[in-house]
């Protein structure tokens, strides 16, 4: 791997917080990012439900 970029905690944290402020200041962006998070949450929920059913299926 010839091209490696390392970003330390301070840099990442600063960039994330700056970006969060940007998203919260723009209604359209805020909606888009909330939607993104909701999709990931939906995936988790679906997997949890499927897992629950599969576990339940083993019981007599």
């Amino acid at each position: 791997m010839s091209k490696l970029i390392h970003l330390d905690r301070k840099k990442v944290k600063g960039a994330c917080e700056k970006f969060k402020t940007l998203v919260n200041s723009d209604e359209e962006l805020k909606r888009q990012f909330e939607y993104m998070e909701s999709i990931i949450e939906r995936v988790k929920k679906e997997r949890d439900e499927k897992h629950k059913i599969e576990k339940g299926g083993h019981k007599k």
Binding site: M1, K3, L4, I5, H6, L7, D8, R9, K11, V12, K13, G14, A15, C16, K18, F19, L22, D26, L29, F33, M36, E37, I39, I40, V43, K44, R47, D48, K50, H51, K52
Partner: protein
């Protein structure tokens, strides 16, 4: 030592989650891929064919970006998110790490390919400029990020095409992520 990626996003898999319901407290990651200013042609109009077509992108599981590169001299932080990233030829990978600690790091390996011209890729974390890399042939750029802190963080990595030539094209061939 071989590491198994925690996630892999590409044109055909733009939304992934490594969440395992059997082990819900384990570190996991949601990841999403976005492409702005991508380019495709029904055919390459050349013989022998060049890999510009819709079909070749689908076959190779890649997204070509081009025809609206940024100025390579513009290595500044973004002050207009829409105009300087979303309205440019750009790839964004957003990661949503969960159940990770401040001791963790995230390694994301971006794959790019030079399709036409001499593409440069400018990397940003959020809207902060990080570095420019020249893409030579079939290439990879690894980004190692320290996890920013306690609490919930979503991290956006933007890869913006830059070139002095308007017709430069690069292909994004996927990104693999690892929690270290």
């Amino acid at each position: 030592m071989n590491l198994t990626p925690n996630f892999a996003v590409s044109a055909r898999n733009p939304l992934v989650s490594s969440y395992n319901p059997a082990d819900p407290t384990a570190p996991h990651m949601g990841a999403m891929l976005f492409a702005y200013g991508s380019t495709a042609r029904p055919d390459s109009y050349t013989y022998p064919p060049r890999p510009f077509s819709f079909q070749s992108q689908y076959d190779n599981d890649e997204i070509q970006i081009g025809w609206d590169p940024a100025d390579p001299n513009d290595e500044n932080d973004i002050n207009n998110y829409a105009n300087q990233l979303l309205r440019k030829s750009c790839i964004a990978v957003t990661i949503m790490p969960r159940n990770v600690s401040v001791n963790n790091q995230h390694l994301i390996i971006f794959g790019f390919k030079s399709i036409y011209g001499s593409p440069l890729i400018q990397f940003f974390v959020g809207t902060d400029f990080v570095r420019t890399e020249q893409i030579d042939g079939d290439d990879q750029v690894a980004i190692l990020l320290d996890h920013p802190g306690t609490g919930i963080y979503n991290i956006g990595i933007y890869a913006r095409l830059a070139s002095n030539s308007y017709s430069t094209i690069a292909a994004f061939t996927g990104a693999n992520g690892y929690i270290l």
